[in-house]
């Protein structure tokens, strides 16, 4: 027998609440399930009406995502040698032949490079600044912190205009370095804000003890504070990474051929004769899945970043 508590909800109310939340969760996840299931459909299946819930799965979408194809005349198709390899075979089944790889691989790689590059830089600079803000008297500290955060109020398009002009002058347009610096500049305000919160929670006594033991300030920072802040640093890093990964406005305005990331690219995927929805869905799936898995695995560490530090636990 458990102890009776006035604040413990009754069993019935728990059941009702549980069922309602389950129902909402299912509705919420439906569009995502639809993206994933569409990526395994054939072109005609993806646009059939009524929509097909059950269908024969195929990887056509993925093949189309990674290749460019042409559709030769049927008579010409018959004269071709038998298909060479799985990709070719799947393309041939749709009446097309592969002409080369698509740019999706490149764009995905750009997302990885720019995402990880800007995250590493944001965390490196952000941790140093956060430590200084947390431990030292920095003149105008509060104003500076508020200012740092208020830079996030600028609509991205408003920032993009001068950045566009500046990058054109400096030759940084459409380069990885340019995008890494830009995303770092955008992310660092939040990184400093979050990291300061984490470092504030580490008792000063640890460092003071280390200083008395003969560590320099810098060593105390590296050997005492950094290990203590590791969890906070990791969750801030994930947050920066997800921001850079998902960012679209700057990417679509400032990159085109060379450093374009996946978000502006995926909507431009067009198949042979009209929008190729399974290929778009395949691209979306490959792009979204890492974040979905990350979120589910690391939820507890993400909460603080998501809520701008409002949720402390």
């Amino acid at each position: 027998m458990g102890t009776y508590s006035v604040t413990e909800p009754s069993k019935a109310s728990k059941w009702v609440a549980g069922l309602l939340v389950v129902a909402y969760t299912i509705i919420t996840l439906l569009p995502l399930m639809w993206i994933i299931s569409t990526s395994f459909k054939t072109g005609p299946d993806s646009i059939s009406y009524p929509p097909k819930v059950f269908f024969e799965p195929t990887v056509e979408g993925y093949v189309n995502l990674f290749t460019t194809r042409t559709r030769p005349a049927v008579s010409e198709l018959d004269t071709l040698p038998p298909p060479d390899g799985l990709f070719e075979e799947i393309a041939r089944r749709q009446g097309t032949i592969i002409t080369g790889p698509s740019r999706f691989g490149e764009r995905f790689l750009n997302s990885v490079i720019i995402g990880f590059g800007s995250t590493a830089l944001s965390i490196f600079l952000g941790t140093l600044a956060a430590y200084a803000f947390s431990r030292f008297k920095v003149p105008l500290k509060d104003d500076l912190l508020f200012f740092i955060l208020s830079t996030r109020m600028m609509p991205p398009i408003a920032v993009a205009i001068p950045i566009y002009l500046m990058y054109r002058q400096l030759g940084l347009s459409d380069t990885h370095v340019g995008m890494i610096l830009l995303y770092t500049g955008v992310n660092i305000s939040l990184a400093v804000w979050l990291l300061k919160g984490f470092i504030d929670e580490i008792p000063r006594e640890y460092e003071e003890a280390a200083l008395i033991d003969g560590y320099t300030r810098f060593q105390a920072f590296r050997k005492v504070v950094l290990p203590q802040a590791a969890t906070g640093i990791a969750s801030t890093a994930i947050f920066c990474l997800i921001f850079a990964w998902n960012e679209y406005a700057f990417a679509v305005l400032l990159t085109s051929g060379n450093a374009q990331t996946a978000p502006p690219f995926i909507p431009t995927i067009i198949g042979v004769g009209g929008q190729d929805w399974p290929a778009v869905a395949a691209g979306a799936t490959l792009f979204l899945l890492p974040v979905m898995i990350f979120t589910i695995l690391l939820r507890k560490h993400l909460l603080r970043g998501i809520t701008f530090g409002a949720v402390r636990k």
Partner: protein, 317 residues
């Protein structure tokens, strides 16, 4: 012999490094640590902002870089034009409509969900995790995919509406003409961001100590009364914070809506950010759009400041 810790350390470390660590005061370290961040912020945030202010008084067009930049006459002409343009005001209205409805829906659904999850039924942790997924995803990629769900005639959304209400799927179009588009973007935003409001409300609900309810129970306050006199006031500061973040984010909204509707049909979903993009990167009226950008920044900054003041008042109570 008396040796300071620093001296001991200096002897123990290679000479070049020792020289470096020895002379660094806390003040110097503070500056070394903060300087790179400040420099980056100056380069990526402040300098562009100042440049935008400068450009907003000129007739500069970024697609004609060789043309001489001239001050506009009178100096406030760009601003005056924007503020007297009817289009601007109708875009502001579109943005306000989007803002108000997304906030209302997200607050109602988000708070309800948090309140239900706070019943602490089995598996509430897992469900919270699953609910959070949509808001972590790329709004652009997701927005793009919703155009598929919203397709006229064959779209899944149309099918579901027909299935449940009997309204023929071919008779309406979520993103086409007919006035549904502003609601379609509200639905997607609510779908994506309700979990955010929920999370913050949940943090608020969990911050209320049990003994307050116990005391109310002793005083024989009804559950209804407890809800309105304890739960709501204690969660309100959190809720207001959530509204602030959503408000700022949706005032800036660009990616999701740009891919869903691009501002169309006509100008029905032309949010200010999308209008700004058209002016700046399609019509290339750089000076004019710089002024536009400043006006938007001042608006969001002003509204947010007033709101934060109100928030602090609520917190003090």
């Amino acid at each position: 012999m008396v040796t300071s810790p620093i001296d001991r350390l200096a002897r123990a470390t290679p000479p070049s490094l020792a020289r470096k660590v020895r002379g660094l005061s806390d003040r110097t370290i503070a500056w070394i640590f903060v300087a790179p961040t400040i420099l980056l912020l100056l380069a990526i945030n402040i300098f562009p902002l100042i440049w935008t202010v400068y450009l907003s008084f000129t007739n500069y067009a970024a697609n004609k870089p060789n043309r001489e930049i001239e001050w506009v006459e009178p100096i406030y002409r760009n601003y005056a034009r924007i503020l007297t343009d009817e289009g601007t005001w109708s875009n502001m209205q579109t943005t306000a409509h989007f803002l108000i409805w997304t906030i209302i829906l997200q607050v109602i659904i988000g708070f309800t969900l948090a309140w239900l999850i706070n019943r602490k039924f089995k598996g509430n942790d897992l469900l919270t995790t699953l609910l959070v997924v949509p808001m972590m995803l790329s709004p652009a990629v997701v927005g793009n995919f919703w155009t598929f769900l919203y397709q006229p005639q064959i779209g899944v959304v149309n099918y579901i509406v027909e299935f449940f209400t009997g309204i023929p799927a071919a008779s309406f179009s979520m993103l086409g003409p007919g006035g549904l588009a502003p609601w379609s973007i509200i639905i997607v935003d609510t779908w994506m961001w309700t979990p955010f409001v929920m999370l913050i409300c949940l943090a608020g609900l969990r911050s209320i100590p049990d003994y307050i309810y116990e005391a109310a129970e002793v005083d024989r306050a009804s559950k209804w009364r407890q809800f309105w006199t304890i739960t709501v006031p204690m969660v309100l500061p959190f809720l207001m914070l959530a509204v602030l973040f959503r408000g700022i984010e949706n005032f800036k909204m660009f990616d999701m809506v740009n891919l869903l509707t691009g501002g169309g049909p006509g100008d029905e979903t032309l949010l200010t950010s999308i209008d700004l993009k058209r002016e700046a990167f399609e019509k290339w009226r750089t000076g004019y759009s710089s002024a536009y950008a400043i006006i938007l920044f001042v608006t969001v900054f002003g509204l947010a400041s007033i709101y934060v003041k109100a928030l602090n008042k609520v917190k003090e109570r």
